[in-house]
């Protein structure tokens, strides 16, 4: 496949999910990191950076979920999943929901013009990072990045 062959890339039913998934993972993890730093250093600029990273991460989950489901429907004809594939699907959905929940907590605080974000968000963010990481690990395992495939 030529790297600049747009038609081939766009028509590859399977490839987009594997590419797009890196955006929400990276944005969410760095967003949480900024939020923890903002909490620690009491800096509004870091809190703002966290908010916008989380916002874009949440938006980026939409094409990722869509392309993941399309890959399942097209490549595997929607057959009943089991094992690692099922685990990856479930954890991917949970990860997406958690990213949206974390963003919504930040959004609600900004909307109410409250100065301090609720403390309970930090454990939620930590759990979300772990689940996102595990989901990505399963995805990497499935895609064969650790093997010749």
């Amino acid at each position: 496949m030529h790297p600049f062959d747009i038609k081939t890339v766009l028509l590859a039913k399977h490839a987009q999910h594997v590419v797009l998934i890196h955006f929400p993972i990276a944005l969410f993890i760095i967003g949480v990191l900024f939020d923890f730093l903002a909490q620690w250093r009491k800096q509004l600029l870091l809190a703002a950076a966290a908010y916008y990273n989380l916002l874009v991460a949440a938006i980026a989950t939409i094409p990722v979920v869509v392309t993941g489901i399309l890959a399942w429907q097209w490549e595997l004809e929607g057959q009943k999943l089991k094992g690692i594939l099922l685990m990856h699907l479930v954890m991917g959905c949970v990860s997406s929901v958690l990213i949206w929940v974390v963003w919504f907590i930040h959004k609600r605080t900004r909307r109410k013009h409250e100065e301090a974000l609720p403390g309970y968000r930090l454990p939620i963010e930590a759990v979300a990072v772990v689940i996102v990481g595990l989901t990505g690990h399963l995805g990497g395992f499935l895609s064969g990045v650790n093997g010749p495939g």
């Binding site: 590859a12 399977h14 490549e75 595997l76 057959q79 999943l81 089991k82 094992g83 690692i84 594939l85 395992f141 499935l142 895609s143 064969g144 093997g147 010749p148 495939g149």
Partner: protein, 114 residues
């Protein structure tokens, strides 16, 4: 006395030959129609069989894989094969049948039916 010894040896050799040959033939036949999936690859990558042969793919990998023919009509297409699961297809017509794993499209192989 040596004649008795020779005869006994011949009888034993003949017995072993008769007992062993079918097993050897069966193993050769089985090995030739089996494709092992392991370490993100099909083995053998190219398999040549006579028409009417049933080829069986066995997933020995830790990952799920599929076996899907590349032609538009999808002559054969397995479900997702987990570890140690099998898929079989009987090739009745001569020709070359390239196939791949739809989860890992870089994994390819072909069956040549003569």
């Amino acid at each position: 006395m040596w004649i008795v010894g020779m005869a006994a040896t011949a009888v034993v050799a003949l017995g072993l030959l008769l007992a062993g040959s079918p097993k050897v033939a069966a193993n050769t036949q089985q090995a030739a129609t089996e494709v092992k999936i392991d370490n993100f690859s099909f083995g053998p990558v190219a398999l040549t069989v006579p028409a009417g042969t049933t080829v069986t793919w066995i997933n020995r990998d830790d990952m799920p894989h599929t076996v899907v023919s590349m032609d538009d009509s999808k002559t054969f297409k397995s479900k997702v094969l987990d570890t140690d699961e099998k898929f079989s297809f009987t090739f009745s017509k001569a020709g070359t049948y390239p196939y791949f794993c739809s989860i890992h499209p870089k994994m390819t192989g072909k069956v040549i039916v003569q």
